[in-house]
Amino acid sequence: MKILEVIDLKKTFKTDFYKKAQPVLKDISFSVDAGQFVGFIGPNGAGKTTTIKCLLEFIFPDSGEIKFFGKHYDLSHRRRIGFVPERPFFQEFLSGKEFLKLHWNLAKDSNEGFDQRADEILELVKLFHAKNKKLKDYSKGMLQRIGIAQALLTKPEFLILDEPMSGLDPDGRILIKEILKNLKQSKLTVLMSSHLLEDLDELCDQLVIVHAGKIEYSGPLNEFKKDFRNLEEAYRQFKIDWAQGFNA
C-alpha cells in the first residue's frame, strides 16, 4: 500500500515582489510504501525541507499532486501523520507532559487514555523523569525527543522527520537513533530527511536523493550502495558522477 505519492511537484519562490520567481522544486516525484523507512537526502538548498513543507501544507506547490493513503491531503489525514520539525522550538513555558496534553487535545476529542499513552511515550523517548520539568529547562536533545514524543503520541501511521539529529551532541544522537531503530522495528512508515549518511545507512531501507530541486534517485538503499562499502562512499561517487553529467 502506498502511504505517500508525490507526483511532478513544482514550486517557485520570489525573494522580492519585483524579482523573477526562482524554481526551488523542479520535478519532484517519489513514493513511500507502508512499513518503509525512507531516507531523504541532498545538499543544503536542494529542496528537502521545501518538499516536506509542501507535503504538510505549510506552503503550497505551484503544480503537482500529493496523495496520502491514496487520497489527496485533507484534515482527516493529519490524524494519521506525525511530524518532527528540524528545530525543536516549542512552547517553552509548558512542562513536557503539558506539551503532550496540548497536542493530544488538539488531535483527539476526549482525554480518555491520555495519561497512559503519555507515560508510555515518555518512557519510549526516555523523558519520563523530566515530564514535569518546563521545556525551557530541556536540553536540545531532550527537546528533540519531546518533539518525537508529540509526533508519536496519537499513534500515527506515517512519520515525517526533518533532520531530527542535526545539532545534537553524541549522546543525544545515540538516544534518538535508538528511538528511530525501535520505530523501524515496529514497522512504522517513516520519511526522514537528514545529512547524516552514517545514521541513514543504519536505519533506512529506501533512499530518495534530491538535488537542485529534482529527484536524482529513488529506490532501495542496498541497490544504491551495492558496489560500495557504505552509503557515504556511494553518495560521494554519485556526486562525482552527477557533477560530470552536469558539466557535460
Binding site: E57, F60, S76, R78, F89
Partner: protein, 256 residues
Amino acid sequence: MSQLKSIRILSVLGAREWIRLKFFYLIVFVSVLFIGFSHLLSSLTFSVQERLLFDFGLGGLELMLVLISSLIGTHSIQREIDRKTLLVILVRPLPRWHIIMGSWGALVILNIIFTFGFTVAFLASSGSFKLLSGFMMAAGSCLLKAFVISSFAIAMGIMVRPILALGTSVCFWIFCYSLPDIRFFVEKMEDAFLLKIVDGVMQIVPKFYLFNWKSHYSVLNPPMASEFLWATAHSFAWAFFWLFVASCFFRRKEIV
C-alpha cells in the same frame, strides 16, 4: 464541539504565553502609573475632582486596551511563525481559521483580565465602589472596542509586516472615532463629492463614536441596556468580519 475545544485550547495557550512576557507587565505597570496620575491630576482641582479622576482613568484604560490589542494582535501569528512553534500546531487536524480564532480568543482573555484588574484597582484606590455598575458599562465599552481592534490587528498582522500592521491598527482606532469630526470639516469645505465619500466611509467602518462612554458623565448616567446591546452586536459583527478577512488570508499563507 471539538471545533470549540481546539479554539479554547489555543486561546488559553496564547493567553498563558503572553501573560508571562514582559510586555504585559509593562502595560500593567503603565496602568498603575495612569491610575496614580489620575489621582494626582484630580487632587489639583477642587470642583471637578471625581470627573477628572474618572475621565483620565477611563481614557487610560482604553489606551492600554488598544495597546494590548494592537501590539499583541499584530505580532501573535507572526511571532509563532518566526519562532516555528506554529509548525507542530499546523500539522494537527484543525483548520487554519481555528488558529486565527485562538489568537483572538487569547486577546479576549487578556483584555478581560486586564479590564477586571484595572476596574478593581481603580475603584479600590478611589473608594468609588458605589459607581461599580456605571464604571463597568464604561469599561465594557472600552473592552468592546478592544475586541474590534484585536481582530483588525490580527488581520493586518497576517497581510503586512507587524510594524506596519501596528501603525495601521492604531490609525484604524483613531479613524473609527474621528469620522464625525472629519465630516464636520468636510461639510465646512462645501465639497459635495468629498462629503459623499465621507458619508460612504462612515457606513463601512465601526462607529466607535456612538459608544464612547469612557467618561465620568457616562459612569453617572450609564447607557440603557438596549444601547449597550447594540454596541455589543456592532462590535462583535465587526470583530467577526475582520476575523473572517484574517482567515481568508491565512488560509493560503505560506509558512516559510
